[in-house]
């Protein structure tokens, strides 16, 4: 650590800093809200390590998420801090916090319903409530939307198109 930097902050304080970082594609919600931060702990060499589980394996925002965490670690006095990408636990939309869901809804993005845990993978795209009028008479419009984790639905009551964070 070079002279002039502030003293390194303890690991227990770093988690809050990392979780408060905005998601690059959905800037109103944080990485903590999204549920991608799995663990923040000291590695065997005493260096803080942040474990991240990707929303989608090809998520284009992942490299900028990693970079922003690295910058945060450096600013907290840990320029050698590490970010690890882990696959277990796999991310699912169930990891989005209640606060995150509320922020999505406030932004006009219908939050995901619960993901079925047992049996074959099913994609629920039916009866998602419209964020504009609340009607459940909504229909899938496009399974892919403004970002990899969103699809687009259409409300048959108020005729609005709206994005939906796909339950997966």
């Amino acid at each position: 650590m070079s002279a002039g930097t502030r003293p390194a902050r303890p690991v227990r304080e770093i988690r809050a800093l990392v979780e408060a970082l905005p998601d690059p594609e959905l800037p109103t919600i944080t990485l903590g809200d999204l549920g991608v931060i799995v663990a923040v702990a000291e590695g065997p060499d005493g260096v803080p390590e942040v474990a991240v589980t990707p929303t989608y394996l090809g998520c284009p925002a992942l490299s900028s998420i990693v970079a922003s965490i690295e910058d945060t670690l450096a600013a907290a006095g840990h320029p050698d801090g590490r970010v690890r990408q882990v696959l277990s636990p796999p991310w699912t939309s169930d990891r989005i916090t209640p606060a995150g869901r509320a922020k999505l809804a406030a932004q006009g993005i219908a939050p995901p319903g619960p993901v079925r845990r047992e049996g074959p993978v099913v994609i629920p795209l039916a009866a998602v409530p419209c964020p504009y009028c609340g009607s459940r008479a909504t229909r899938p419009h496009s399974p892919f939307g403004p970002s990899r984790c969103q699809s687009v639905l259409r409300c048959t009551a108020c005729h609005e198109l709206f994005p939906h964070l796909t339950a997966l």
């Binding site: 394996l57 990693v66 696959l87 074959p120 099913v122 419009h141 496009s142 399974p143």
Partner: protein, 260 residues
């Protein structure tokens, strides 16, 4: 960016061969789908095909990272994608078939995604914790692609006479290339016998049932069994493959070691 999803581990040539095949399947099909970008029939389909490609290429990156650690060569994901000749790719021929029309692309996606969901669900329960975690995550992604392919198969099959004709033609054309997905060579047999990886051959009846259901729901016919195209797993590819790989690797060859 490096991914640390797979801890460093002892070399395992058989498992490396398996993760390489899976990675090659995903990369090559993803690259084919990328050729649709700006050419799809509507903006939604352009977005859909490119997003499916994005998922597949993301899966390939992870699988190549696994492979580099398992084969003890220390190669990274870019080495596998950009620094191999076309004869070194071990993808099934299905994944490299030319896009054809939209019906042909949907037929290819239908066959692959029905297989990939079954395979990755099975992989999700395998003994290797890293591969199992990967399988569980990948299964969800390809299930979404399967939904897309099922939906379009039905829409084209039950659409106009022309759309049904093209969808049927697409199915007929890809069908000979589906058998290779379930072929088992020594690598696959050894891994299945050791309980390390799913036995692809055992997934075939479930795949046939699901495909029959999807095709029948679309008012179309399951093609009759005929000849089978094979060779991709051994690096023997179709005529169009070399140019696909040449395009994929062109920038890397023009600017070796370039970064941006």
């Amino acid at each position: 960016m490096t991914t640390d999803a797979a801890p460093s581990r002892t070399a395992d040539a058989r498992l490396a061969a398996l993760t390489l095949r899976l990675g090659d399947d995903a990369l090559v099909l993803g690259q084919r789908l990328c050729q649709w970008i700006t050419r799809a029939p509507t903006i939604e389909e352009d977005l859909a095909l490119s997003n499916i490609a994005l998922d597949l290429i993301g899966q390939a990156r992870m699988l190549y990272t696994f492979t580099g650690r398992l084969d003890a060569t220390g190669r990274d994901e870019d080495d596998f994608a950009f620094a191999r000749g076309d004869r070194e790719f071990t993808n099934a021929l299905l994944t490299e078939l030319p896009n054809g029309d939209f019906g042909a692309t949907i037929a290819r996606q239908l066959a692959y995604s029905h297989y990939a969901v079954l395979y990755y669900q099975a992989l999700g329960g395998c003994a290797d914790p890293d591969l199992a975690a990967f399988g569980q995550r990948a299964a969800k992604e390809v299930a979404f692609h399967r939904l897309y392919a099922d939906t379009w198969t039905e829409r084209l099959g039950l659409g106009t006479a022309e759309s049904a004709r093209r969808m049927q033609r697409g199915l007929n054309d890809v069908w000979p290339y589906t058998a290779e997905l379930f072929d088992e060579d020594d690598v696959a047999r050894d891994l299945a016998a050791a309980g390390v990886a799913p036995a692809a051959a055992a997934l075939r009846p479930a795949w046939e049932r699901a495909m029959t259901e999807s095709v029948t729901r679309a008012g179309l016919r399951v093609p009759a069994p005929g000849w089978h195209g094979r060779g991709g797993r051994a690096g023997l590819h179709t005529e169009d493959f070399a140019s696909l790989i040449a395009e994929l690797q062109s920038v890397r060859r023009q600017f070796p070691g370039g970064t941006w």
